[in-house]
């Protein structure tokens, strides 16, 4: 067990799944790898099960809405992985089309993804395929819209309570 640099992590991933990593952004503040949406479930399993990687902790799932990208409106889902044994970390990004953002659920790989994915669905509107119970978690059950989309407009009133905007 040893701490791996980002280059070595990518090498391990490419060794097993040569097609999966579509882009590597290594000059940012944090190195990020972009994974194809259809391969993400396989990559996730590999990340957890390969003993050299050993990413056993999924820290965070973030959904970011980019309605005005040149290559088309996109939603990015970002996974922050962490290894409690090897002490290295990895940021994985999956890019989805904004009109129909669908990605495989990784709930089976990391149990914590259950609630994180529900939250991302609730606030950003990403659909996680294969999730056993993809319902709203933070907002009220009959809330309309996904608040963290950039074009979201809050309702004027909700169940008779005025939503005064000052």
């Amino acid at each position: 067990m040893a701490r791996l640099e980002i280059g070595q992590i990518i090498a391990v991933l490419k060794e097993k799944l040569p097609e999966a990593v579509s882009e590597e952004v290594l000059d940012g503040v944090d190195p990020v790898i972009v994974v194809k949406a259809e391969q993400w479930a396989a990559v996730a399993e590999l990340c957890r099960d390969d003993s050299r990687l050993g990413f056993d902790l999924l820290s965070c799932i973030t959904g970011v809405d980019y309605p005005e990208r040149e290559e088309g409106a996109e939603i990015e889902v970002i996974y922050n992985l962490d290894s409690t044994a090897n002490l290295h970390e990895l940021t994985v990004k999956v890019k989805l089309p904004r009109s129909d953002p669908r990605v495989a659920s990784v709930e089976g790989t990391w149990a914590t993804a259950d609630w994180h994915e529900r939250e991302t669905y609730d606030l950003v509107g990403v659909i996680f395929e294969g999730h056993h119970n993809l319902v709203r978690i933070l907002c009220a059950d009959d809330w309309v819209g996904h608040p963290l989309r950039k074009d979201y407009e809050p309702p004027d009133s909700f169940h008779g309570i005025k939503n005064v905007i000052y």
Binding site: L138, C139, A140, W143, P147, Y152, P154, P155, F158, H159, G160, I161, K162, N163, V164, I165, Y166
Partner: protein, 179 residues
């Protein structure tokens, strides 16, 4: 007799001396044993706990026992942020409290949304959109001394209560009914 007459100068109701005295007794007992409902929602609730705990010692003023159920309490301290998901519950808890009941809105959030007033899509902008409020305590969070002062204000209100007069409640603003 003069003293009693002084208290009730109204010539029409002069004969109702007894009622006034009963009012006074009932109000004095009520005001000196306020039972608040444990209703912590957010950060302000921690200050509410601090008020009840060792240093600020709410028991000194006869309102120590925080009750876990609305049916045993006569004061609701709404401490924290009320959200749209929580609002129907706040309303229901209020309805479950026996009359006469009082509400303290503690903190900026329950007064007008506090820091969340502009971007908080899920925050109810003031608990008085849901239930009637008697005393507002501003602050984020208000200090325990401020909550104590608020409770004194409620005690004053309680001393004005008349057992035959129910107008105080009927004049309250129209409040919303959860759908």
């Amino acid at each position: 007799m003069t003293e009693i007459e002084n208290r009730n100068p109204d010539p029409l109701t002069k004969n109702v001396v007894l009622m006034t005295a009963v009012d006074d007794i009932i109000n004095a007992t009520r005001a000196n044993s306020v039972w608040p409902l444990t209703f912590g929602l957010a950060c302000c609730a921690i200050e509410m706990m601090a008020t009840g705990a060792a240093k600020y010692d709410l028991d000194r003023f006869g309102s120590g026992p925080f009750r876990g159920t609305p049916r045993q309490s006569d004061l609701m301290v709404v401490a924290g942020t009320v959200t749209h998901k929580m609002a129907p519950r706040v309303k229901r808890l209020y309805d479950q409290m026996p009359e006469p009941k009082y509400v303290i809105a503690m903190g900026g959030c329950v007064i007008r949304g506090g820091p969340y007033v502009k971007h908080g899509y899920h925050v109810v902008k003031g608990v008085d959109l849901v239930i009637p409020v008697d005393v507002y305590i501003p602050g984020c969070p208000p200090r325990p001394e401020a909550l104590l002062e608020g409770i004194f204000k409620v005690q004053k209100l309680m001393k004005r209560e008349k057992i035959l007069d129910r107008t105080r409640r009927t004049t309250k603003p129209e409040v919303y009914q959860p759908v």
